[in-house]
């Protein structure tokens, strides 16, 4: 029952999020429209910054959606459309940041951090490994130990 209530609460929310694209924006050609949706999902809304323009209700997002469709109808390729928007709003408008000198740290951080982690991991396991492979006691030493133990037991019994 509780779960049903949760679904009823969540489902209309999901539907409104998905329907920022208004009916009058949608292109007649389903193939072009699919490409437009695809491009829109990769472009950031500059007003509500963590949304893509495909799901944003902001005025500028709508304008950009219309612009994307206009460029597609005019015969631009997907890359052309993205380049057109990027020329006006900069790299910031792309939802996934491109690999440029400014973003080397961003893209490199996962590799550098896992590299450091690997160094630590190897260093620690090596130390543990060397502790385990310490040479066993020599025969003389074993005898010495036996002697100590024996004498110990003798003292206990006496």
């Amino acid at each position: 029952m509780k779960r049903l209530a949760l679904y009823l609460f969540l489902v209309p929310g999901a539907a409104t999020v998905a329907q920022a694209v208004e009916p009058d924006e949608i292109l007649a050609d389903p193939q072009l429209e699919a490409r437009a949706r695809d491009i829109s999902r990769g472009l950031r809304c500059v007003v509500c910054q963590n949304q893509d323009i495909d799901s944003s209700n902001a005025g500028v997002a709508r304008d950009l959606r219309l612009l994307v469709r206009e460029r597609l109808v005019a015969g631009d390729s997907d890359d052309d459309v993205i380049a057109y928007v990027r020329a006006r709003y900069g790299d910031y408008v792309l939802m996934s940041p491109p690999l440029t000198p400014a973003t080397f740290a961003l893209w490199g951080a996962p590799f550098i951090l896992s590299g450091i982690g690997m160094v630590f991991f190897i260093a620690l396991t090596r130390r543990q490994g060397s502790a385990q492979t310490r040479p066993l006691l020599s025969d003389d030493e074993e005898k010495q130990v036996d002697r100590f133990l024996d004498r110990g037991s003798e003292e206990d019994t006496s």
Binding site: V46, V47, Q49, G59, V60, D63, L64, L67, A87, R88, Y89, G90, Y92, F120, A123, R127
Partner: protein, 187 residues
């Protein structure tokens, strides 16, 4: 190796601490969108005048043709902060002789005319951008936004949001001084 490991927690703490310190910096605005237009030529656009106003329209050529640096202000009658900003811009245009151009963004002409009649019209030229397409060319994210353009048509500065309040006005005036359109020693 052991000696290195002993220092590792300190190094890690210092790295994270540095990162957090950077994040806490009050002057850093994570929402600020860097403008790609700065130091680039102003975008190509040509806007009709607002119907019902005597003020002529605004095009790219008007920016390059002006005598000194110009201020381009994107405004709309439906934009409440624009109303607050209007007095600041009027003072700059009328008492300090700045050249002020306007882009009337996605506004009904009748509303724009009424708004300007009520508050006064400090703009030398106003282009009517009813579709918002010129706004996209300028890369704006909302209204108001204000640009400073060099006489050769290069975009020198962009201010996002209303130029209202001591801090904002001081920042904007500093940009005007740097553009050479206000005297350097002036307040």
């Amino acid at each position: 190796m052991v000696r290195f490991l002993a220092f590792a927690p300190l190094v890690i703490a210092a790295a994270f601490g540095g990162f957090f310190l950077w994040g806490l910096d009050g002057d850093r605005d994570p929402n600020a969108i860097p403008s790609v237009l700065i130091s680039k030529p102003a975008p190509e656009f040509a806007l009709e005048p607002v119907p019902g106003l005597d003020t002529p329209g605004l095009a790219r050529a008007d920016l390059a043709g002006a005598k000194g640096p110009t201020i381009v202000n994107v405004f709309a009658s439906w934009c409440v902060p624009c109303r607050a900003e209007h007095a600041v811009l009027t003072a700059l245009a009328e008492t300090e002789g700045q050249t002020l151009f306007g882009i009337n963004y996605k506004d009904k002409p009748a509303d724009a005319v009424r708004w300007l009649n009520e508050l006064g019209n400090p703009y030398e030229r106003i282009g009517s951008d009813q579709t918002g397409r010129a706004g996209i060319e300028w890369g704006i994210s909302g209204v108001p936004e204000t640009f400073i353009i060099a006489p050769d048509g290069t975009v020198l500065y962009r201010y996002v949001g209303p130029v209202v309040g001591d801090n904002a006005v001081a920042t904007f005036r500093a940009a005007l001084r740097q553009a050479g359109s206000l005297p350097v020693d002036g307040g």
